[in-house]
Amino acid sequence: MLEAFLSSTVAMAAPLLLAALGELLVEDSGVINIGIEGVMLTGAFAAMAAAYATGSVAAGLGCAALAALAMSALFGAMAVNLAVNQVVAGTALDIFALGVTGVFYRRMFGVTGQALTVRTLRQVRLGPLSHLPLIGPALFHQNLLVYFSFLIVPAVWLALYRTRWGLNLRAAGERPEAADALGLGVYGLRWQALMISGVLTGLSGAYLTLGYANTFVEGMSAGRGFIALAIVILGEWRPGRIAIASVLFGAALALQFVLQAVNTGIPYQLFLALPYVLTLVVLTALGGQSHAPSALGEPYVRP
């Protein structure tokens, strides 16, 4: 029971973590992408469509990344090059993605999409470690995307804090006009962050379809992209803390299944609402000491 909960927690945390790390890079460059929800949904759909068409999970992952890149590029053109309001552009992206995935889904699979299933990512058992009591299945018997999402945490940290690129990126998010004056190329940095985030968010979406649902449902990202935004705030824009925050929200999501299985008499909607309530409570408790990059969300027009 507890073992299943822990395992489920890690599995639920993985897509949140992938998306949050992507969003972290984008936000460190000074751009806030509310459209991450739509990018994730697009990734989820593309993964399912490609995996269904080809029967290959790898093709699903690849297509998810590509489709998410396209969505991120649309956002990048608006938010970076045209310097429009990032919140509104991100929201438009969410609405757009909901519509586009819906149209394609119904066109390809009909309104109900009944009995539509795809192969899922294989669970990989890491030798005898996976037999450890309690934490074995949670940490060492997951699919490759779960391992990947946790392994890139130190990679993101290294990139941000131990490379010149990461420093340039943070400078662009701190004071873009000064970064440009130093010849760092703010637009280029922001695009690079958006593209990496696109791939990560696309994989995160793919995880929803290929990782556990093994089907697609319209609007199935169900606010996970928005939760990733909150995770970045809660994680104070640090990769390690973001990983911890992701696990916390993963637990909130996992709790639904555990508690639904046990008949507690508590309405299940309460558990479904739990991650969202948790987001509100946690942000309120943080009380607004902001660790956000200084230029976050401010459109930058090169002089």
Binding site: A83, A89, G102, V103, L286
Partner: protein, 364 residues
């Protein structure tokens, strides 16, 4: 000699209409292209859309019915966005409004009609106001981004609604997850049956100018707009930033909540899951096309109401999913944003008469 630039809200009519209609045209052009790629006939699809929206008397009145909640949520978004309060939560506020209206309404069977309706609409308004003001307060007091908090409340509202129709408000036979119907006393007046024209539309039409007057003619509206245009200056000159945020978010939520109550009381009479097809999100497109001008929200909502209504028809006629309209909404917002890009403005400025930039840059 510097020249005054006309504002979107008060420029001449051609200029004011040009951008939104142009954006719509471009967005629909892209949709047509996508339809062709998908193998549907764009012309036939648009024809079906148009006839679905205005093809006959009933269809036309139904377009008005579909536009009504969009007027309420569109006004909600316009008011909040005017103060740079990014209320993405009109959806949740509308649902909370409908939920409160239903919870009160079912108990009013014995009441005379006018007070019963007043209670139902009042409950919806109050619930929406509380949901909105809560986010304003969280922002003012705890610096919680209203973007995140309003989005979270949207999801919470969906679950609350689901719980209500599976639990306390479930219809007596308990066979379907829908609420018990409102008693006739709590239902808004309808006109000219079989059309579903109703008194809620009159309320929507009256609310738009009221909102306009509030925003552009009152001190509170001025303070909100000042906050939206330049929060630092507003704070420096004593605009009570926190109070304005709470009040404006409350007002915004109230209008969305009223929209939910009107929809319940005039049209659906029952609550059910997916009560709103996304009116709160669509409202963002409605408000932006109206350039945040409350008076322009009415025609803008009509436009989107027509799209929604026509979209039902294209499914039948062309096998194209009505969610296409959502993709179009997103596109309309993108195109509108692109029209207003500051980058374009700075290109234009190179030839234009603008002393301000020169003085700002040439100052040593």
């Amino acid at each position: 000699m510097p020249t005054a630039t006309s504002s979107g809200s008060r420029g001449n009519i051609v200029a004011a209409l040009g951008k939104p209609l142009g954006a719509l045209a471009i967005a629909l052009g892209i949709v047509a292209l996508a339809l062709a790629v998908l193998g549907a006939n764009p012309a036939a699809t648009f024809a079906a859309l148009l006839s679905g929206a205005f093809g006959n008397w009933l269809a036309a009145t139904d377009t008005l019915v579909k536009a009504t909640p969009l007027v309420f949520t569109g006004l909600a978004v316009s008011a909040a966005f005017s103060g740079a309060l990014w209320n993405i939560g009109a959806e949740g506020q509308l649902l909370f409004g409908a939920l409160a209206a239903a919870a009160c309404g079912v108990h009013l069977a014995q009441w005379p009609r006018p007070p019963a309706i007043a209670v139902v609409l009042g409950a919806g308004t109050a619930a929406g106001a509380v949901a909105g003001a809560l986010c304003g307060w969280l922002r003012a007091r705890f610096a919680v981004s209203e973007i995140i908090s309003t989005i979270m409340l949207n999801f919470i509202a969906v679950q609350a609604l689901s719980w209500a129709v599976h639990g306390p408000l479930m219809e007596p036979s308990r066979a379907y997850p829908v609420s018990q119907a409102l008693p006739p006393a709590a239902c808004l007046y309808r006109f000219l049956p079989p059309s579903r024209l109703n008194a809620g539309m009159i309320a929507a039409l009256a609310l738009a100018p009221a909102c306009y007057v509030w925003l552009f003619y009152t001190n509170a509206g001025f303070e909100l707009r000042a906050l939206g245009k330049n929060p630092r200056a507003a704070a420096f000159f004593g605009v009570p930033v926190g109070r304005v945020a709470v009040f404006a978010m409350g007002l915004s939520g109230a209008m969305a909540g009223l929209g939910g109550a009107v929809q319940l009381s005039a049209i659906s009479h029952r609550l059910f899951e997916r009560f709103s097809p996304g009116w709160g999100y669509e409202a963002i497109a409605v408000a932006l096309v109206a350039r945040l001008n409350p008076l322009a929200v009415v025609p803008s909502a009509l436009l989107f109401g027509a799209l929604d209504n026509g979209a039902q028809a294209i499914q039948r006629a062309q096998g194209v999913s009505p969610v296409l309209v959502q993709a179009a909404q997103g596109l309309v917002i993108f195109v509108l944003l692109a029209f207003d890009t500051p980058v374009l403005a700075s290109w234009r400025r190179r030839g234009a008469v603008r002393e301000d930039l020169a003085s700002g840059r040439a100052d040593a």
